[in-house]
């Protein structure tokens, strides 16, 4: 049991999440159980509206469920106040969004620096670390440009640099490739895997995009607000070693 606790990165148990008024209630999650291990890249798949984004938000502490417990790297999220949740996200989380969410009026460099500056790091340190990660995602030389001057794939690279610059244990990606073409999507996932593969880390990716399934260690299928099946397809696992 203690060994198991050691390998668990994220655990959500018995999570209920409803939206709307009692008369007009939408059930997004119903007794959902989810587990992600340290060092793995796990994907969440399922039909539209089954609750993938909602589960991700609950794990990220941006939504507080009506029932259930959530634990991320040993930290229980239930019972934390807004400011504590914010501090938790600041330290433990990196985000990659479908719509990139880069700030258009800031340069690539400044966008990447945001998580470090939020942590209160000195500007120079943030600058140096951001430069290093921009190099790693292959955008060296573009750091003073604006995100809008980049292609979709390049913008998502900036987002990945921003998500990883502060070396968060948990990386959360919601449809990171759905705005990208197939090849670009593959490159992006390759980058996520390369940069985040470590025993102290865990990556959760919500996706519809079957073309990137091969990057997953495990795939959790969702249906009607709960995890219905987790597949451990060795074939998919094999491709991850490419």
């Amino acid at each position: 049991m203690s060994h198991l606790a050691h390998t668990v990165a994220v655990r959500a148990s018995g999570v209920d999440m409803f939206f709307g008024t009692p008369e007009n209630q939408v059930v997004a999650l119903q007794q959902a159980d989810f587990e992600a291990r340290r060092g793995e890249l796990i994907m969440l798949v399922g039909p539209s509206g089954c609750g993938k984004t909602t589960l991700l938000s609950v794990i990220a502490g941006t939504l507080t469920p009506q029932a259930g417990t959530v634990e991320v790297f040993g930290q229980r999220l239930d019972g934390l106040g807004q400011e504590e949740l914010t501090a938790f996200r600041r330290k433990h989380l990196g985000f990659v969004f479908q719509s990139f969410n880069l700030i258009p009026t800031l340069t690539v460099m400044e966008n990447v620096m945001v998580p470090l500056l939020i942590q209160g790091r000195p500007y120079d340190e943030a600058h140096a670390r951001s430069l290093a990660i921009i190099d790693k995602v292959g955008l060296k030389g573009r750091e003073e440009g604006r995100p809008n001057a980049l292609s979709g794939g390049q913008q998502q690279r900036v987002a990945i640099a921003r998500a990883l610059v502060h070396e968060p244990p948990l990386l959360i990606c919601d449809e990171p490739t759905s705005a990208l073409d197939k090849d670009t999507g593959g490159h992006i996932m390759q980058l996520v895997r390369d940069l985040s593969r470590s025993p102290e880390r865990c990556v959760v990716v919500v996706t519809h995009d079957h073309r990137i399934f091969r990057f997953a260690d495990r795939i959790a299928e969702m249906e009607d607000g709960r995890i219905s099946r987790v597949v451990d397809d060795p074939k998919l696992l094999d491709t991850t070693h490419l």
């Binding site: 938000s57 400011e83 600041r90 989380l93 985000f95 969004f97 700030i103 340069t107 945001v114 500056l117």
Partner: protein
């Protein structure tokens, strides 16, 4: 993060320009409207500007310069004997009817000044000399008044034309002839039409009906005596009321006749109200424009602030970012607007119309208002960001 906040603000030149234009325009509107308002209101103490005496002495019951309660001629001697008085000169002011050559009557402001010292004489004569007033039946008329009292004739093109009075023209006051020997330039007043200057003694003649004609005494302090000190002495020794002539309407000293006149009009007439509504309208438009432009700026950035919040920025940091942006924009916008108001003001002061007085207080008030608007807009932005669901960043 504050550096990033500023870069966010300056990052989009087009939107920044819009925002600054809105703020600058509203600052301009507020400063300009108020300055015109105070310009009009400053006409109330025009006599203090035109007559240029250091100390004014009046009947104790007088509250403001237009409400002269006549003094006795013997009071002049009493004032002259007060310690510290260099000289004291009589001043007559009254509204009288003047009969023009064509038979029309015009209401004029008659100003009688001491023929020895010419104390209270207009500063600028565009034609004639002040000494000519010593000739019999002579007057000096102000430029604007000369036009007001002018003759309507039909020009060669068949259109009606106004011919202003000129040196050599005559009119009558109480059947006594008045011959124009000079034209002067004076500041316009709130009350009273054309200013007609003559000697104190002749003014007595022009107003033969009046029993007493000494409206004010103009007093010059001796070297080393301040006007305020002299006022104290005159009041103590004569029981009359003595005033300084400084036109600082914002001081709370009781001594300034200009100040008392200004605030008397403020409290006792509907003038501030009728002109003030225009100013208020300007203020509202200004507040609306700058509030609106700032608010839309905040709304456009809401999505990004939500992302920053999701990434773990506390509300304290976000609030400070918004305040930094708001105050920076407010400061620059105010600077531009105030600069433009100054420029426009300079042109207006040169032309004299509309009247324009931009007190430092107006700038301070505009500054406070613009910053206040920025503050409120930032506050609304902060409330918006605090309400926005951090989870919303996952949606499209």
């Amino acid at each position: 993060m504050y550096r990033l906040a500023l870069n966010m603000l300056f990052g989009d030149r087009a939107k920044l320009a819009m925002l600054l234009c809105g703020l600058a325009f509203s600052a301009l509107l507020m400063a300009q409207q108020s300055s015109v308002f105070f310009g009009i209101m400053s006409w109330t103490y025009t006599p203090m500007v035109n007559i240029r005496a250091q100390v004014w002495v009046s009947d104790p019951m007088v509250e403001q310069v237009n409400d002269a309660k006549p003094l006795r001629d013997t009071d002049l001697g009493r004032v002259r004997s007060v310690d510290g008085v260099a000289w004291a000169a009589p001043l007559h002011t009254s509204f009288v009817q003047a009969r023009m050559q064509d038979g029309n009557f015009k209401l004029i402001t008659l100003v009688g000044i001491d023929a020895d010292t010419f104390a209270g004489a207009p500063a600028v004569l565009t034609q004639g000399r002040i000494e000519d007033l010593r000739l019999p039946d002579t007057v000096i008329v102000d430029e604007w008044g000369a036009a007001l009292m002018g003759r309507m004739t039909v020009g060669p093109d068949g259109k009606p034309r106004n011919t202003p009075l000129k040196v050599g023209d005559t009119f009558e006051v109480n059947d006594i002839q008045a011959r124009i020997v000079g034209i002067c330039k004076v500041r316009r007043a709130f009350t009273g039409g054309p200013f007609v200057y003559t000697t104190y003694d002749r003014a007595k003649g022009y107003t033969l009906g009046a029993r007493r004609t000494l409206s004010f005494m103009l007093v010059e302090p001796q070297k080393g005596v301040t006007p305020a000190e002299l006022c104290d002495r005159i009041e103590r020794d004569t029981g009359l009321k003595a005033w300084t002539s400084d036109t600082v309407i914002w001081s709370w000293g009781e001594r300034s006749l200009a100040r008392n006149t200004f605030w008397w009009f403020w409290t006792n007439t509907g003038i501030p109200f009728s002109f003030g509504t225009a100013v208020l309208l300007g203020l509202f438009v200004g507040i609306a424009i700058s509030g609106q432009t700032f608010y839309s700026f905040v709304l456009e950035n809401l999505k990004y602030f939500a992302a920053i919040k999701a990434m773990g920025a506390g509300m304290g940091v976000i609030a400070r970012m918004l305040f930094v942006q708001a105050f920076t924009a407010g400061l620059i916008g105010f600077g531009l607007g105030a600069g433009m108001a100054q420029g426009i003001g300079r042109v207006m002061i040169e032309k004299g119309m509309p009247p324009f007085v931009m007190y430092p207080q107006i700038l301070w008030a505009t500054f406070a208002l613009v910053l206040g608007i920025s503050f409120v807009s930032a506050l609304i932005g902060i409330i918006k960001v605090s309400r926005v669901d951090a989870a919303s960043v996952f949606r499209g």
